[in-house]
């Protein structure tokens, strides 16, 4: 059965849209900052929580034509950041070309890496490449302990992630103000993330003491009940209780800063979405336009497409690809 139907059939959870009282919240902002581009589902890992169900057997990879359209639309519409994700975006054959082109038109290019790929051939030179282009590196490290990371992401992933982080640190990442290194925490199962500032302090203390690792910020992200994680919830009998947790923790104060309001998400084939989770839910933007359709056309204000999976972004202090949305950073 379609995984999104599992959510829709949960009678105790209302439609997400019915929880939004202010109609203006249902629309994306007039000037959107972030263009998030998912350059493919191909990945060297197959993590248990992955909402786009990326893995080594996936074949969906963004073409150079779609990338060119992204760059054109970015320039025309005045976005401020390009956020490149996947899969393992590094495995796209046009990845380096794309980062090069993106860096020419955008001063804030973000690459989301699983770290492990940076320890494999032919990708070992990429940390240096990132530093040369002053790319912000956002990396997945769901805990500070091998057992928990490997259970979620695969055997020896933690050890190899530490190797990659040490290399990034050696190049100045996490130290030089121009080389930003952010980590992503996500829960290792069907529970909500901890307070972002508290877990960041723990990460810094543990990883600093044990491995001499430094980084800038930790983003605590709530697992979204889509893709592979939805499959786990259903198989393990946790789907209903997890959705009750998300709905029970619904915080109206997080609605205004939902990431879908300030980004446009581009799929590997150029289809447009309100966010990467809607990509997983196969929920394109209402107009059905692709990135190619937007070239040399004004970006229209759009109504966001919601589903019950959106409760993951509004639980507790909120969640986005940049972590908690309602929390002030300490320090």
């Amino acid at each position: 059965m379609d995984k999104m139907k599992w959510l829709e059939e949960l009678k105790g959870i209302p439609d997400f849209e019915s929880c939004i009282k202010d109609e203006a919240i249902k629309k994306a902002l007039p000037n959107i900052d972030i263009m998030q581009i998912n350059v493919g589902r191909l990945c060297n890992l197959a993590c248990k929580h992955c909402h786009v169900e990326a893995g080594p057997a996936r074949t969906e990879v963004m073409s150079r034509e779609v990338m060119e359209a992204c760059i054109k639309v970015f320039k025309e519409q005045g976005f401020s950041a390009i956020d490149i994700t996947g899969g393992a975006p590094e495995m796209n054959p046009n990845f380096e070309w794309f980062v090069n082109e993106a860096s020419k038109v955008c001063s804030h290019v973000i690459v989301r890496t699983n770290l492990v790929i940076l320890t494999e051939e032919p990708y070992r030179h990429l940390p240096q490449f990132f530093a040369e282009h002053k790319v912000e590196v956002v990396c997945s490290l769901p805990y500070y302990r091998a057992k928990d990371v490997d259970r979620q992401r695969g055997k020896a992933v933690f050890e190899r992630s530490i190797q990659a982080i040490k290399k990034l640190n050696g190049l100045g990442y996490g130290k030089d103000p121009e080389l930003v290194l952010n980590f992503v925490y996500n829960p290792g199962g069907a529970f909500l993330p901890p307070d972002q500032n508290s877990i960041e302090k723990e990460y810094k203390a543990k990883l600093g003491a044990e491995y001499g690792i430094v980084f800038n910020n930790l983003f605590a992200i709530t697992n979204n009940p889509t893709g592979r994680f939805a499959g786990f919830l259903n198989r393990s009998g946790n789907l209903e209780s997890y959705m009750n947790k998300l709905y029970g923790a619904f915080n109206e104060g997080t609605l205004e800063k939902m990431m879908c309001r300030n980004q446009l998400s581009v799929g590997w084939d150029g289809k447009l979405y309100d966010c990467d989770f809607n990509q997983a839910a196969d929920l394109t933007i209402a107009s059905g336009e692709t990135i190619m359709d937007l070239v040399e056309k004004p970006l229209k204000s759009r109504f966001i497409q919601f589903g019950k999976h959106c409760f993951a972004c509004t639980a507790g202090k909120g969640s986005s690809c940049g972590g908690t949305t309602e929390e002030k950073r300490c320090g």
């Binding site: 829960p187 901890p194 508290s198 723990e202």
Partner: protein, 110 residues
């Protein structure tokens, strides 16, 4: 009823306040205040609660505080250590009562 303990009863905890709402309100407000960040962090308090839950052997509290600990970034190794603290105190409390046994033996035997 198949069992005295039923997970579906946990969300009914509040019904205990039906016959004495004032006492329930006092309890729940005290309970909330106890678990707020203070000199101890909310995370430390959750671990203490987990250990006490094991010492008093309350399945509802073990369920709640295992989940609460996970949501506060506590890992299984740390939770297991907390359970050992509870076990050590319970075991120690049993053994230290052995002194009473020894005192009585001393008093009664030749």
């Amino acid at each position: 009823m198949n069992t005295y303990y039923n997970p579906e009863d946990l969300p009914k905890f509040g019904t205990i306040g039906e016959e004495s709402p004032e006492l329930w309100e006092k309890f729940i407000s005290y309970y909330g205040a106890v678990f707020e960040e203070g000199s101890l962090t909310a995370r430390e308090k959750s671990l203490i609660a987990l250990a006490v839950a094991h010492a008093v052997q309350c399945p509802y509290c073990i369920d709640s505080y295992t989940q609460d600990c996970l949501s506060k970034g506590v890992n299984e190794e740390q939770m297991t250590e907390a359970v050992h603290v509870a076990a050590a105190i319970r075991g120690g409390a049993t053994l230290v009562h052995g002194v009473q046994m020894k005192n009585i033996v001393k008093k009664l035997e030749f």
